[in-house]
Symmetry: C2
Subunit: 172 residues, 2 copies
């Protein structure tokens, strides 16, 4: 079970980025995303995708992110450009995940409260340059599952038939 | 030399997503991003990052994306959920890239003109589920460079010292 906690969503600015965080979480094998700011526009657009494309992905909400982290029963990873390089720690995280099965992945926006760095098991940088929480989440999950997540079936109403040129989908 | 062509930027909606595309391109080892819609807000925010964090990354513009693709001298890859699964084609692309050295990566937004699929060498899906051009670009580059891109030095005014807990940066 993999949960993504998305911190610091800003209602005015982050609708599309937070939607990409959710779609990426779903497509790369996470089970749900939990927000600390409620935004029904994001929830609705993810629900529309899941209704058509399948899977059991959920969007949830917590009104106390720190308590949520502290109470989480499993490995807690914070993705941050200030953390240890993923190349150096991913093997250890994979081994722990194989044992513990539950994983919390925390992604922030611009500012993350300093305490967060100290209440997690790992602060991991997908490199140490500024880029994107969407990119960080995608690469972390791709490394965790070693690419296997991209072969997963979602049993949706729509399915893509991979093609060399053009587009092909089937509707069930 | 790796160029990313970002198609279909919408001025009202895509400022932050296109900024994330650029930052991801830079952090994961691309040399520049070319837009087919000019947006100085994106260009300015990338310039600010590059001034501080280093590297020679550039944002450019073309007024004819199709001509730009046709005239590009190198391998042309279009990232699309309708394409062949990256797991099945990445080894072939890596081999070609080692020979040809020049690579164009095309990422679109909502709608990509059907002709694009036919004027590239590869249409590649980072899986075949809907997610994010930011996620797709990050995972493609991470696979292409096998993680080595995350160890690259940018020689900027600011550098992060990777840490287990907390934040540490040096300013030169």
């Amino acid at each position: 079970m993999i949960t993504v906690l998305r911190l610091g969503h800003r209602f005015e600015r982050d609708k599309r980025i937070s939607t990409h965080v959710c779609l990426t979480a779903r497509a790369f094998g996470a089970d749900n995303v939990v927000f600390d700011v409620r935004d029904e526009r994001v929830e609705d657009s993810i629900k529309r995708i899941t209704d058509e494309w399948g899977g059991n992905f959920k969007v949830d909400f917590t009104d106390n992110a720190k308590k949520f982290i502290k109470n989480f029963d499993g490995i807690k990873v914070h993705l941050t450009m200030y953390g240890l390089n993923i190349n150096d720690v991913i093997d250890e995280v994979i081994k722990k995940f194989e044992k513990e099965k539950n994983l919390l992945i925390i992604v922030g926006g611009q500012k993350v409260d300093a305490e967060i760095y100290f209440i997690v098991d790992y602060n991991i940088g997908i490199g140490n340059q500024p880029h994107s929480e969407v990119a960080a989440l995608a690469v972390f999950l791709d490394r965790l599952f070693k690419g296997e997540e991209l072969k997963r079936k979602f049993n949706g109403k729509i399915e893509v038939i991979p093609k060399e040129k053009g587009k092909e989908i089937i509707r069930k």
